[in-house]
Symmetry: C2
Subunit: 200 residues, 2 copies
DNA sequence: CGACACCTTGAAACCCCTCAACGACTGTGG
DNA sequence: CCACAGTCGTTGAGGGGTTTCAAGGTGTCG
Protein backbone atom coordinates (compact mmCIF):
# COMPACT_ATOMS: atom_id res chain seq x y z
CA UNK A 1 0.00 0.00 0.00
CA UNK A 2 1.20 3.45 -0.89
CA UNK A 3 -1.76 5.74 -0.19
CA UNK A 4 -5.41 5.77 0.87
CA UNK A 5 -7.67 3.52 2.90
CA UNK A 6 -8.63 -0.03 1.89
CA UNK A 7 -10.28 -2.94 3.57
CA UNK A 8 -9.98 -6.70 3.31
CA UNK A 9 -13.20 -8.66 3.68
CA UNK A 10 -14.86 -12.03 3.20
CA UNK A 11 -18.33 -12.67 1.81
CA UNK A 12 -20.31 -15.59 3.17
CA UNK A 13 -22.49 -17.80 1.03
CA UNK A 14 -25.60 -15.87 2.06
CA UNK A 15 -24.11 -12.55 1.06
CA UNK A 16 -23.04 -11.26 4.47
CA UNK A 17 -19.77 -9.39 4.65
CA UNK A 18 -17.09 -9.65 7.33
CA UNK A 19 -14.32 -7.09 7.32
CA UNK A 20 -11.14 -8.84 8.39
CA UNK A 21 -8.73 -5.94 8.53
CA UNK A 22 -7.97 -2.54 7.09
CA UNK A 23 -5.07 -1.60 4.85
CA UNK A 24 -3.15 1.63 5.20
CA UNK A 25 -0.01 2.96 3.54
CA UNK A 26 3.11 1.12 4.64
CA UNK A 27 1.24 -2.12 5.27
CA UNK A 28 1.14 -5.22 3.11
CA UNK A 29 -2.02 -6.91 1.97
CA UNK A 30 -0.79 -10.10 3.54
CA UNK A 31 1.88 -12.42 2.32
CA UNK A 32 -0.65 -15.17 2.59
CA UNK A 33 -2.40 -13.83 -0.49
CA UNK A 34 0.85 -14.49 -2.28
CA UNK A 35 1.68 -17.78 -0.68
CA UNK A 36 -1.75 -19.24 -1.14
CA UNK A 37 -2.47 -19.26 -4.79
CA UNK A 38 -5.91 -17.79 -5.17
CA UNK A 39 -7.24 -14.99 -3.08
CA UNK A 40 -10.40 -15.99 -1.26
CA UNK A 41 -11.16 -12.50 -0.05
CA UNK A 42 -12.11 -9.14 -1.43
CA UNK A 43 -10.38 -5.81 -1.32
CA UNK A 44 -12.31 -2.56 -1.39
CA UNK A 45 -11.15 1.01 -1.34
CA UNK A 46 -12.64 3.44 1.15
CA UNK A 47 -10.93 6.40 -0.46
CA UNK A 48 -8.88 6.95 -3.56
CA UNK A 49 -5.95 4.62 -3.06
CA UNK A 50 -2.63 3.79 -4.65
CA UNK A 51 -0.91 0.47 -4.29
CA UNK A 52 2.12 -1.35 -5.58
CA UNK A 53 2.07 -4.93 -6.83
CA UNK A 54 4.83 -7.44 -6.33
CA UNK A 55 4.84 -10.40 -8.72
CA UNK A 56 4.63 -13.75 -6.99
CA UNK A 57 7.77 -15.23 -8.47
CA UNK A 58 9.85 -12.32 -7.31
CA UNK A 59 9.22 -13.20 -3.69
CA UNK A 60 11.51 -16.19 -3.41
CA UNK A 61 14.02 -14.23 -5.44
CA UNK A 62 13.75 -11.42 -2.90
CA UNK A 63 14.31 -13.79 -0.01
CA UNK A 64 17.48 -15.04 -1.62
CA UNK A 65 18.92 -11.69 -2.62
CA UNK A 66 17.95 -9.50 0.29
CA UNK A 67 17.55 -11.19 3.68
CA UNK A 68 17.17 -7.80 5.29
CA UNK A 69 14.16 -6.98 3.14
CA UNK A 70 12.76 -10.44 3.75
CA UNK A 71 13.00 -9.97 7.49
CA UNK A 72 11.26 -6.65 7.13
CA UNK A 73 8.40 -8.21 5.17
CA UNK A 74 8.12 -10.86 7.85
CA UNK A 75 7.94 -8.19 10.49
CA UNK A 76 5.08 -6.55 8.60
CA UNK A 77 3.27 -9.86 8.39
CA UNK A 78 3.79 -10.40 12.11
CA UNK A 79 2.29 -7.00 12.86
CA UNK A 80 -0.65 -7.84 10.62
CA UNK A 81 -1.23 -11.07 12.49
CA UNK A 82 -1.06 -9.20 15.78
CA UNK A 83 -3.86 -6.92 14.55
CA UNK A 84 -5.99 -9.91 13.61
CA UNK A 85 -5.51 -11.24 17.12
CA UNK A 86 -6.79 -7.95 18.49
CA UNK A 87 -9.80 -8.22 16.21
CA UNK A 88 -10.52 -11.69 17.56
CA UNK A 89 -10.40 -10.37 21.11
CA UNK A 90 -12.77 -7.58 20.16
CA UNK A 91 -15.28 -9.97 18.64
CA UNK A 92 -14.87 -12.65 21.26
CA UNK A 93 -15.03 -10.89 24.57
CA UNK A 94 -15.92 -7.23 24.29
CA UNK A 95 -19.43 -5.82 24.28
CA UNK A 96 -20.54 -3.51 21.51
CA UNK A 97 -19.56 -0.10 22.92
CA UNK A 98 -16.07 -1.35 23.76
CA UNK A 99 -15.73 -2.96 20.35
CA UNK A 100 -16.52 0.26 18.57
CA UNK A 101 -14.35 2.42 20.80
CA UNK A 102 -11.40 0.06 20.53
CA UNK A 103 -11.60 -0.25 16.76
CA UNK A 104 -11.76 3.50 16.29
CA UNK A 105 -8.76 3.99 18.55
CA UNK A 106 -6.78 1.48 16.54
CA UNK A 107 -7.69 2.98 13.19
CA UNK A 108 -6.86 6.49 14.29
CA UNK A 109 -3.50 5.37 15.63
CA UNK A 110 -2.72 3.51 12.44
CA UNK A 111 -3.89 6.34 10.22
CA UNK A 112 -1.81 8.81 12.13
CA UNK A 113 1.24 6.56 11.94
CA UNK A 114 0.71 6.24 8.19
CA UNK A 115 0.54 10.00 7.86
CA UNK A 116 -2.91 10.03 6.31
CA UNK A 117 -4.39 13.51 6.07
CA UNK A 118 -7.12 14.43 8.57
CA UNK A 119 -6.48 11.43 10.78
CA UNK A 120 -4.57 13.43 13.36
CA UNK A 121 -7.68 15.58 13.67
CA UNK A 122 -9.71 12.43 14.30
CA UNK A 123 -11.35 12.14 10.91
CA UNK A 124 -11.79 8.62 9.55
CA UNK A 125 -13.41 7.68 6.21
CA UNK A 126 -15.71 5.03 7.69
CA UNK A 127 -19.40 4.48 7.08
CA UNK A 128 -21.50 2.90 9.80
CA UNK A 129 -22.09 -0.03 7.47
CA UNK A 130 -18.34 -0.72 7.34
CA UNK A 131 -18.04 -0.47 11.11
CA UNK A 132 -20.97 -2.83 11.61
CA UNK A 133 -19.54 -5.41 9.22
CA UNK A 134 -16.20 -5.17 10.98
CA UNK A 135 -17.54 -5.57 14.49
CA UNK A 136 -20.05 -8.34 13.84
CA UNK A 137 -23.04 -6.13 14.64
CA UNK A 138 -26.12 -5.23 12.66
CA UNK A 139 -26.20 -1.80 11.08
CA UNK A 140 -29.21 -0.81 13.14
CA UNK A 141 -27.58 -1.73 16.40
CA UNK A 142 -24.28 -0.14 15.52
CA UNK A 143 -26.10 3.10 14.87
CA UNK A 144 -27.51 3.04 18.39
CA UNK A 145 -24.17 2.25 19.97
CA UNK A 146 -22.63 5.00 17.92
CA UNK A 147 -25.22 7.37 19.31
CA UNK A 148 -24.38 6.33 22.86
CA UNK A 149 -20.69 7.03 22.36
CA UNK A 150 -21.45 10.32 20.66
CA UNK A 151 -23.40 11.45 23.71
CA UNK A 152 -20.33 11.01 25.90
CA UNK A 153 -18.61 13.59 23.74
CA UNK A 154 -15.95 11.27 22.37
CA UNK A 155 -17.36 11.09 18.86
CA UNK A 156 -19.12 13.19 16.31
CA UNK A 157 -21.19 12.27 13.31
CA UNK A 158 -19.59 14.08 10.50
CA UNK A 159 -22.05 13.18 7.79
CA UNK A 160 -21.78 10.83 4.84
CA UNK A 161 -19.06 8.35 5.41
CA UNK A 162 -16.94 10.21 7.88
CA UNK A 163 -16.42 9.67 11.58
CA UNK A 164 -14.81 12.35 13.69
CA UNK A 165 -13.17 11.55 17.01
CA UNK A 166 -13.52 14.65 19.13
CA UNK A 167 -11.94 13.40 22.35
CA UNK A 168 -9.36 10.76 21.60
CA UNK A 169 -8.08 10.49 25.15
CA UNK A 170 -11.56 9.87 26.47
CA UNK A 171 -12.16 7.24 23.79
CA UNK A 172 -8.94 5.48 24.70
CA UNK A 173 -9.97 5.32 28.33
CA UNK A 174 -13.31 3.82 27.41
CA UNK A 175 -11.68 1.23 25.16
CA UNK A 176 -8.79 0.42 27.51
CA UNK A 177 -6.72 0.98 24.40
CA UNK A 178 -3.03 0.18 24.53
CA UNK A 179 -1.23 0.87 21.28
CA UNK A 180 1.87 -1.17 22.01
CA UNK A 181 0.83 -3.91 19.63
CA UNK A 182 0.99 -1.50 16.72
CA UNK A 183 4.50 -0.28 17.33
CA UNK A 184 7.66 -2.13 16.52
CA UNK A 185 8.98 -4.20 19.36
CA UNK A 186 12.44 -3.80 20.82
CA UNK A 187 13.64 -7.27 19.92
CA UNK A 188 14.32 -8.21 16.33
CA UNK A 189 12.59 -5.27 14.71
CA UNK A 190 14.39 -3.84 11.73
CA UNK A 191 15.93 -0.48 12.43
CA UNK A 192 15.65 1.25 9.07
CA UNK A 193 12.46 2.75 7.72
CA UNK A 194 10.23 1.04 5.24
CA UNK A 195 11.34 1.92 1.76
CA UNK A 196 9.30 2.01 -1.40
CA UNK A 197 9.42 -1.36 -3.18
CA UNK A 198 11.63 -1.01 -6.20
CA UNK A 199 9.37 -3.07 -8.44
CA UNK A 200 6.23 -1.84 -10.12
CA UNK B 1 5.75 -27.52 18.06
CA UNK B 2 6.82 -31.11 17.99
CA UNK B 3 4.00 -33.01 19.72
CA UNK B 4 0.73 -32.59 21.56
CA UNK B 5 -2.04 -29.99 21.65
CA UNK B 6 -1.57 -26.43 22.89
CA UNK B 7 -3.58 -23.25 22.74
CA UNK B 8 -2.77 -19.56 22.55
CA UNK B 9 -5.05 -17.23 24.50
CA UNK B 10 -5.48 -13.74 25.83
CA UNK B 11 -6.83 -12.76 29.24
CA UNK B 12 -8.84 -9.57 29.56
CA UNK B 13 -8.57 -7.23 32.52
CA UNK B 14 -11.68 -8.75 34.10
CA UNK B 15 -10.32 -12.28 33.91
CA UNK B 16 -12.14 -13.52 30.82
CA UNK B 17 -10.20 -15.75 28.44
CA UNK B 18 -10.24 -15.64 24.64
CA UNK B 19 -8.58 -18.50 22.79
CA UNK B 20 -6.94 -17.06 19.69
CA UNK B 21 -5.69 -20.22 18.02
CA UNK B 22 -4.53 -23.74 18.65
CA UNK B 23 -1.04 -25.12 18.20
CA UNK B 24 -0.32 -28.50 16.72
CA UNK B 25 2.88 -30.26 15.72
CA UNK B 26 4.46 -28.73 12.65
CA UNK B 27 3.10 -25.28 13.39
CA UNK B 28 4.91 -22.28 14.84
CA UNK B 29 3.69 -20.29 17.79
CA UNK B 30 3.80 -17.21 15.66
CA UNK B 31 6.77 -15.24 14.53
CA UNK B 32 5.14 -12.20 16.02
CA UNK B 33 5.99 -13.48 19.48
CA UNK B 34 9.59 -13.28 18.37
CA UNK B 35 9.40 -10.02 16.52
CA UNK B 36 7.49 -8.24 19.23
CA UNK B 37 9.63 -8.31 22.31
CA UNK B 38 7.33 -9.38 25.08
CA UNK B 39 4.63 -11.93 24.71
CA UNK B 40 1.23 -10.51 25.61
CA UNK B 41 -0.53 -13.84 25.47
CA UNK B 42 -0.60 -17.13 27.27
CA UNK B 43 0.15 -20.64 26.12
CA UNK B 44 -1.52 -23.65 27.69
CA UNK B 45 -1.15 -27.32 27.00
CA UNK B 46 -4.23 -29.45 26.41
CA UNK B 47 -2.24 -32.67 26.47
CA UNK B 48 1.33 -33.58 27.22
CA UNK B 49 3.27 -31.60 24.68
CA UNK B 50 6.79 -31.19 23.40
CA UNK B 51 8.10 -28.07 21.77
CA UNK B 52 11.34 -26.65 20.43
CA UNK B 53 12.58 -23.18 21.18
CA UNK B 54 14.41 -20.94 18.75
CA UNK B 55 16.46 -18.11 20.30
CA UNK B 56 15.46 -14.68 19.07
CA UNK B 57 18.85 -13.62 17.83
CA UNK B 58 19.17 -16.69 15.65
CA UNK B 59 16.26 -15.58 13.51
CA UNK B 60 17.99 -12.82 11.56
CA UNK B 61 20.95 -15.15 11.29
CA UNK B 62 18.65 -17.79 9.80
CA UNK B 63 17.26 -15.34 7.27
CA UNK B 64 20.75 -14.52 6.11
CA UNK B 65 22.07 -18.06 5.95
CA UNK B 66 19.08 -19.99 4.67
CA UNK B 67 16.60 -18.10 2.51
CA UNK B 68 14.81 -21.34 1.76
CA UNK B 69 14.15 -21.94 5.45
CA UNK B 70 13.14 -18.31 5.89
CA UNK B 71 10.58 -18.64 3.11
CA UNK B 72 9.26 -21.77 4.75
CA UNK B 73 8.84 -20.00 8.07
CA UNK B 74 7.04 -17.21 6.30
CA UNK B 75 4.75 -19.71 4.69
CA UNK B 76 3.92 -21.14 8.11
CA UNK B 77 3.17 -17.65 9.40
CA UNK B 78 0.95 -17.00 6.41
CA UNK B 79 -1.00 -20.18 7.09
CA UNK B 80 -1.37 -19.13 10.72
CA UNK B 81 -2.73 -15.77 9.67
CA UNK B 82 -5.16 -17.50 7.35
CA UNK B 83 -6.48 -19.50 10.30
CA UNK B 84 -6.95 -16.33 12.33
CA UNK B 85 -8.96 -14.90 9.47
CA UNK B 86 -11.19 -17.94 9.57
CA UNK B 87 -11.64 -17.46 13.31
CA UNK B 88 -12.70 -13.85 12.68
CA UNK B 89 -15.29 -15.00 10.17
CA UNK B 90 -16.59 -17.56 12.66
CA UNK B 91 -16.97 -14.96 15.40
CA UNK B 92 -18.25 -12.20 13.15
CA UNK B 93 -20.91 -13.79 11.03
CA UNK B 94 -21.74 -17.34 12.05
CA UNK B 95 -24.33 -18.34 14.63
CA UNK B 96 -23.40 -20.66 17.46
CA UNK B 97 -24.11 -24.09 15.89
CA UNK B 98 -22.14 -23.17 12.79
CA UNK B 99 -19.30 -21.78 14.87
CA UNK B 100 -18.94 -24.99 16.80
CA UNK B 101 -19.27 -27.25 13.80
CA UNK B 102 -16.77 -25.26 11.77
CA UNK B 103 -14.19 -25.12 14.55
CA UNK B 104 -14.41 -28.85 15.16
CA UNK B 105 -13.98 -29.56 11.46
CA UNK B 106 -10.88 -27.39 11.35
CA UNK B 107 -9.32 -28.94 14.41
CA UNK B 108 -9.92 -32.46 13.20
CA UNK B 109 -8.41 -31.66 9.83
CA UNK B 110 -5.38 -30.05 11.44
CA UNK B 111 -4.94 -32.84 13.95
CA UNK B 112 -5.14 -35.44 11.25
CA UNK B 113 -2.62 -33.56 9.11
CA UNK B 114 -0.29 -33.39 12.09
CA UNK B 115 -0.63 -37.12 12.62
CA UNK B 116 -1.92 -36.83 16.17
CA UNK B 117 -3.19 -40.14 17.55
CA UNK B 118 -6.94 -40.62 17.75
CA UNK B 119 -7.72 -37.60 15.62
CA UNK B 120 -8.47 -39.65 12.54
CA UNK B 121 -11.11 -41.42 14.63
CA UNK B 122 -12.58 -38.03 15.49
CA UNK B 123 -11.28 -37.74 19.03
CA UNK B 124 -10.23 -34.28 20.13
CA UNK B 125 -8.86 -33.33 23.58
CA UNK B 126 -11.21 -30.38 24.07
CA UNK B 127 -13.27 -29.45 27.10
CA UNK B 128 -16.48 -27.52 26.62
CA UNK B 129 -14.89 -24.65 28.54
CA UNK B 130 -12.12 -24.39 25.94
CA UNK B 131 -14.62 -24.49 23.10
CA UNK B 132 -16.73 -21.78 24.72
CA UNK B 133 -13.74 -19.50 25.26
CA UNK B 134 -12.70 -20.02 21.66
CA UNK B 135 -16.08 -19.29 20.14
CA UNK B 136 -17.05 -16.31 22.27
CA UNK B 137 -19.95 -18.14 23.90
CA UNK B 138 -20.81 -18.80 27.53
CA UNK B 139 -20.13 -22.27 28.84
CA UNK B 140 -23.77 -22.85 29.56
CA UNK B 141 -24.86 -21.91 26.08
CA UNK B 142 -22.12 -23.90 24.43
CA UNK B 143 -23.28 -26.94 26.32
CA UNK B 144 -26.77 -26.57 24.85
CA UNK B 145 -25.47 -26.05 21.32
CA UNK B 146 -23.27 -29.07 21.79
CA UNK B 147 -26.32 -31.04 22.78
CA UNK B 148 -28.14 -29.93 19.64
CA UNK B 149 -25.31 -31.06 17.40
CA UNK B 150 -25.01 -34.34 19.27
CA UNK B 151 -28.67 -35.06 18.56
CA UNK B 152 -28.04 -34.85 14.82
CA UNK B 153 -25.59 -37.71 15.22
CA UNK B 154 -22.52 -35.78 14.21
CA UNK B 155 -20.98 -35.63 17.68
CA UNK B 156 -20.65 -37.67 20.78
CA UNK B 157 -19.90 -36.69 24.34
CA UNK B 158 -16.96 -38.77 25.26
CA UNK B 159 -16.64 -37.72 28.86
CA UNK B 160 -14.09 -35.58 30.66
CA UNK B 161 -12.29 -33.42 28.24
CA UNK B 162 -12.79 -35.36 25.06
CA UNK B 163 -14.99 -34.71 22.07
CA UNK B 164 -15.69 -37.42 19.53
CA UNK B 165 -16.80 -36.63 16.01
CA UNK B 166 -18.91 -39.56 14.89
CA UNK B 167 -19.97 -38.34 11.46
CA UNK B 168 -17.32 -36.03 10.03
CA UNK B 169 -18.94 -35.73 6.63
CA UNK B 170 -22.24 -34.66 8.15
CA UNK B 171 -20.44 -32.13 10.35
CA UNK B 172 -18.65 -30.67 7.34
CA UNK B 173 -21.92 -30.23 5.52
CA UNK B 174 -23.41 -28.41 8.49
CA UNK B 175 -20.38 -26.14 8.79
CA UNK B 176 -19.95 -25.53 5.05
CA UNK B 177 -16.37 -26.49 5.77
CA UNK B 178 -13.81 -26.12 3.03
CA UNK B 179 -10.33 -27.17 4.06
CA UNK B 180 -8.46 -25.46 1.25
CA UNK B 181 -7.18 -22.74 3.54
CA UNK B 182 -5.26 -25.30 5.57
CA UNK B 183 -3.39 -26.83 2.70
CA UNK B 184 -0.45 -25.36 0.94
CA UNK B 185 -1.32 -23.36 -2.12
CA UNK B 186 -0.02 -24.05 -5.60
CA UNK B 187 1.81 -20.77 -6.03
CA UNK B 188 4.97 -20.07 -4.07
CA UNK B 189 4.63 -22.85 -1.54
CA UNK B 190 7.85 -24.62 -0.69
CA UNK B 191 8.05 -28.05 -2.20
CA UNK B 192 10.06 -29.91 0.41
CA UNK B 193 8.64 -31.19 3.67
CA UNK B 194 8.99 -29.38 6.94
CA UNK B 195 12.14 -30.54 8.62
CA UNK B 196 12.86 -30.64 12.31
CA UNK B 197 14.57 -27.41 13.38
CA UNK B 198 18.22 -28.15 13.96
CA UNK B 199 18.45 -25.93 17.03
CA UNK B 200 17.40 -26.92 20.53
C1' DC C 1 -37.63 14.91 -10.43
C1' DG C 2 -36.19 9.93 -9.35
C1' DA C 3 -32.50 6.86 -7.90
C1' DC C 4 -29.28 5.90 -4.64
C1' DA C 5 -26.42 5.66 -0.43
C1' DC C 6 -26.35 6.64 4.20
C1' DC C 7 -28.27 7.55 8.61
C1' DT C 8 -32.14 7.25 11.99
C1' DT C 9 -35.97 5.47 14.84
C1' DG C 10 -39.65 2.18 16.75
C1' DA C 11 -41.49 -2.32 18.04
C1' DA C 12 -41.50 -7.27 18.46
C1' DA C 13 -39.01 -11.56 18.52
C1' DC C 14 -35.03 -14.14 19.49
C1' DC C 15 -30.51 -15.51 20.74
C1' DC C 16 -27.59 -15.70 24.39
C1' DC C 17 -26.05 -14.51 29.08
C1' DT C 18 -26.22 -14.67 34.03
C1' DC C 19 -27.50 -16.80 38.14
C1' DA C 20 -28.28 -20.93 40.46
C1' DA C 21 -28.30 -25.61 41.59
C1' DC C 22 -27.21 -30.50 40.88
C1' DG C 23 -24.73 -34.94 39.39
C1' DA C 24 -20.57 -37.52 38.05
C1' DC C 25 -15.95 -38.26 38.55
C1' DT C 26 -10.88 -37.74 40.49
C1' DG C 27 -7.60 -37.12 43.67
C1' DT C 28 -6.38 -35.89 48.45
C1' DG C 29 -5.91 -36.31 53.23
C1' DG C 30 -7.63 -37.64 57.73
C1' DC D 1 -12.87 -46.01 54.52
C1' DC D 2 -15.03 -41.69 54.16
C1' DA D 3 -15.26 -36.65 53.89
C1' DC D 4 -13.64 -32.98 51.15
C1' DA D 5 -12.36 -30.04 47.38
C1' DG D 6 -11.88 -29.54 42.44
C1' DT D 7 -13.00 -30.02 37.56
C1' DC D 8 -16.34 -30.94 34.17
C1' DG D 9 -20.86 -31.51 32.44
C1' DT D 10 -25.93 -30.69 32.75
C1' DT D 11 -30.47 -28.38 33.36
C1' DG D 12 -33.96 -24.59 34.55
C1' DA D 13 -35.59 -19.84 34.85
C1' DG D 14 -35.28 -14.97 34.07
C1' DG D 15 -33.44 -10.86 31.96
C1' DG D 16 -31.03 -8.15 28.66
C1' DG D 17 -28.45 -7.30 24.63
C1' DT D 18 -29.15 -7.74 19.38
C1' DT D 19 -31.52 -8.85 15.46
C1' DT D 20 -34.96 -8.42 12.15
C1' DC D 21 -38.65 -6.01 10.02
C1' DA D 22 -40.39 -1.76 8.71
C1' DA D 23 -40.58 2.97 7.77
C1' DG D 24 -38.88 7.57 7.23
C1' DG D 25 -35.24 11.26 6.80
C1' DT D 26 -31.30 13.43 4.59
C1' DG D 27 -28.02 14.39 1.07
C1' DT D 28 -25.87 13.81 -3.57
C1' DC D 29 -25.96 12.94 -8.43
C1' DG D 30 -27.70 12.16 -13.04
Amino acid sequence: MLGGWCLRSRISEDGQRQVVNFLLPGETCGLFAIVFGRAEHEFSALTDAQLARVPVDRLSQLFASSPRMALLLTWLAARDERMLEEQIVRLGLKDSPHRLAHLLCELQARGEAAGLPGTDAGELPLTQAVLADTLGLSRVHLNRVFGELAETGALDRNGDGRVRITDAEHLRRIAHFDDRYLRRGPAAAPREDIGRPDGD
